[in-house]
């Protein structure tokens, strides 16, 4: 029963979700939105588990003096400080006004955002190194890829003559709109079918790995 009940629930709600796609009526939407609210509620409870997991793993590092354990202190301090300031020292525990707290905003705007931007900016260098590997002309197909990439990139070069630029633009548009788009659509159709097949497997109880063990 411990395993059957979740499967029955998955079947009922899964079938309902299929039906509601074809039933635009307000009643159907109401039930749909009501069920989606459950996801938020479950998410909030799961967040507590997530925080507990983070605290436990970090504390374990500190307690056992594992490698780089001082960083775990920073993690726990950051977690506690943001909660403390986010609730505006406890004065706005039940409202979002604490998010405007001076310290909370400063921690977020001047520490969190620059660090995130730094991580994101690494992408530029990784794209360069990945492009170098991808565009090495080791075979006929790799050479074709290199040529296509050169055409697509060079069309933005302002120093190309008008004739060459126009030719590049047309060729690049053809590359993007015909072979590239055809491949993308092929993948999208495959993904769509895969999603339907997986969803059916979940609804019918064929795919049940996510349920864990009895």
């Amino acid at each position: 029963m411990k395993r059957q009940l979740p499967l029955i629930l998955v079947f009922i709600f899964g079938v309902f979700m299929i039906f509601q796609y074809f039933v635009p009526h307000e009643s159907s939407e109401w039930v749909f939105e009501f069920l989606l609210d459950w996801v938020y509620i479950i998410g909030i409870f799961a967040l507590a588990l997530g925080i507990w997991s983070l605290v436990r793993v970090s504390w374990d590092k500190i307690h056992k003096r594992k490698e780089n354990w001082p960083y775990a202190i920073v993690t726990l301090f950051g977690l506690a400080a943001m909660i403390f300031f986010g609730f505006d020292y406890g004065r706005h525990f039940f409202s979002a006004e604490g998010l405007e707290n001076f310290m909370f905003r400063h921690f977020f705007d001047y520490i969190m955002i620059p660090i995130q931007a730094t991580m994101f900016s690494l992408l530029a260098f990784f794209i360069a190194s990945a492009a170098y590997r991808a565009f090495r002309a080791r075979s006929l197909l790799a050479t074709l890829l290199l040529m296509a990439a050169l055409i697509v990139m060079l069309r933005f070069n302002p120093y190309l003559g008008s004739f060459v630029a126009e030719y590049m633009e047309k060729t690049a548009s053809w590359l993007l709109n015909v072979p590239n788009l055809a491949a993308k659509r092929g993948i999208i159709i495959g993904v769509g079918l895969g999603i339907v097949a997986t969803a059916l497997k979940v609804i019918l109880g064929i795919e049940r790995n996510y349920l864990g063990k009895d």
Binding site: Y21, F22, V23, P24, H25, E26, E29, V39, I42, A46, L47, L49, G50, I51, S53, L54, R56, V57, W59, N68, A80, I83, F84, F87, D88, Y89, G90, R91, H92, F93, M112, I115, Q116, M119, F120, F126, S129, A130, R133, A134, I187, I188, G190, V191, L193, G194, I195, V196, A197, T198, A199, L200, K201, I206, E207, N209, Y210, L211, G212, K213
Partner: protein, 528 residues
């Protein structure tokens, strides 16, 4: 135990802090009005301006300190504004007199009559098809002075009344040449634009010109929100009252809106889902019956065993990244299945497994999945909850944490399965730098090239979903995989047929596959 006590103490401290001093309410200024609508109207030969606004959030709510609203009018957007009237708190409407038509000189009256455009004709409407209700489609034939005649119509303004005779409210505007308008209201009772179903509505459409009656011009209205302490007030942004010459259509109505119980425009999807379901059931039965189903080779999945073996030999752990997807996404569900298979092999080989999670629900399910796999492998003692842990729900903070783990732990194998976005290349390149074997799979098309470049094996698109069946080799799962392949073959045949028929000048076949589908909607009698 000590740890739990510490955690609970922290929570207790946080809750106790609620009891700390409440912040003084900042009631220095009342909340201003954010939305003001004004339109001109002619009632009993008097040109009036109807001004509607959404009441201040401090009116009956919030600080609840509103005394009244003062209506100010100016000829320009920057004023000067003069007071036109006052209404008490709670009211959201005011009518201002612009001029009396009978007071106009005969020559001006004649001129304004001459400049008045022809009205629109044949105004009609019906409930919007295939929706949840609360919406009405309007259609009309354009004014004779729109693109012809005086050619002075610049727009059509749509007004709605809830009963007759009653005030018509502004609903929207359509530029010249337009012949239709969807009056979409809200289904929320609390909303200003709430539009109940099964209620009689009346419409009129105004043909508006760019001509003005001599001596008149547009006006701007400002609503001043005044607090109980009258020295404290806030003004809204100025709202335009277009005072140009216009002609209203005949009133159309009553018309009602209501929700439908079946969306006929989605019939092709229903046909496809039923067909696909039948094919899937057929192949599952066939596979259960012992039929040998050929499944194409997936190099990325075959490499999983090899990668786990390599990790065992090197004595290094395996890093499994589930991406940024939430638990309800199909890619994440597929990733759980693959994680289960990987974890079972890892348990058998007694290798380490690290699963940093982005989403707490995903973490909880992943913990259950890994635990189940360790039990299947008869190694429940080797499982610890710390293998699967939550990091953060911030995208790049998560990337930083996973990259740090890669560079510190130097895992032998990195497996990326699930939903990935901008972080895909940062993760995969860092993994490549750390010298790990990398296997990736995602259905995010934009990220597939990054994984192809930086990883040793990549599952492209639907191969991610096929992976679980391929790994398990269970007939029931292989049957669904086979059905997927046949469906793809069907799509290819339909695409080829569509290509041929369109090139021969017949697009009927292509139209059958459109979603939303007008062919089926018309077939089942949608009013037009």
């Amino acid at each position: 135990m000590k740890l739990k006590l510490l955690f609970l103490s922290c929570l207790l401290l946080a809750f106790m802090s609620v009891a700390m001093a409440q912040e003084n309410q900042d009631d220095s200024l009342p909340a201003r009005i954010s939305k003001v609508n004004v339109h001109a109207e002619v009632v009993d030969s008097v040109r009036i301006a109807q001004i509607h606004w959404r009441i201040s959030s401090d009116d009956g709510n919030g600080n609840d300190n509103i005394k009244e609203y003062v209506i100010l009018r100016g000829a320009g957007i920057k004023g000067p504004f003069e007071e036109r009237g006052r209404v008490p708190a709670g009211r959201d409407m005011f009518i201002d007199t612009l001029f009396r038509i009978n007071d106009l000189e005969d020559s001006i009256l004649a001129l304004s009559t001459e400049l008045a455009p022809s009205p629109i004709t044949n105004l009609r409407g019906h409930d919007k098809d295939n929706d949840h209700g609360h919406a009405i489609d309007l259609l009309w034939d354009i004014s004779a002075d729109d693109g012809a005649g005086e050619d002075n119509v610049i727009a059509y303004t749509i007004f709605r009344a809830d009963s007759l005779p009653n005030t018509f409210f502004y609903r929207g505007v359509v530029i010249k040449g337009g012949t239709s308008f969807d009056d979409v209201g809200s289904k929320e009772h609390e909303s200003d634009s709430y539009m109940p179903d099964f209620y009689d509505y009346y419409y009129k459409v105004r043909a508006t010109t760019f001509d003005y009656i001599p001596g008149t011009s547009d006006y701007y209205y400002v609503i001043r929100t005044v607090a109980n302490d009258t020295s404290k007030f806030q003004d809204s942004n100025p709202a335009l009252c277009n005072n140009s010459i216009f002609t209203d259509s005949e009133i159309f109505g009553p018309v009602q809106c209501y929700g439908q119980w079946f969306n006929t425009a989605r019939i092709p999807v229903l046909v496809f889902v039923i067909g696909f379901l039948l094919v899937t059931i057929y192949f599952i039965k066939k596979a259960r019956g012992g039929a040998k189903l050929f499944i194409r080779r997936l190099a990325g999945i075959e490499a999983v065993d090899e990668a786990i073996g390599r990790a065992t030999e090197m004595g290094k752990p395996i890093l499994y990244v589930m991406g940024l997807g939430v638990a309800s996404e199909i890619a994440t569900i597929a990733s759980f299945t693959i994680l289960g298979r990987v974890a079972k092999k890892v348990a058998e080989y007694q290798t380490g497994l690290i699963v940093p999670c982005y989403d707490p629900i995903v973490m909880t399910i992943a913990q259950e999945t890994v635990k189940a796999s360790y039990m299947d492998a008869n190694r429940p003692d080797a499982y610890t909850d710390d293998m699967v842990y939550f990091v953060t729900q911030s995208q790049f903070a998560y990337v930083a944490a996973v990259n740090g783990t890669m560079l510190r732990e130097l895992p032998a194998t990195n497996i990326y399965m699930g939903k990935f976005f901008a972080e895909s290349l940062i993760l995969a390149e860092t993994g490549a730098l750390a010298g790990s074997i990398q296997i990736a799979g995602t259905d995010e098309i934009a990220q597939i090239p990054f994984f192809v470049v930086a990883c040793d094996y990549t599952l492209i698109g639907e191969e991610l979903y096929a992976a679980s069946a391929y790994l398990g080799r269970e007939p029931i799962l292989l049957g669904s995989l086979k059905a997927q392949d046949y469906a793809k073959a069907g799509v290819i045949i339909c695409a080829l047929l569509g290509f041929v028929t369109i090139n021969f000048g017949w697009d009927g076949l292509a139209q059958l596959f459109q979603v939303p589908n007008s062919f089926f909607a018309n077939l089942f009698g949608g009013p037009n």
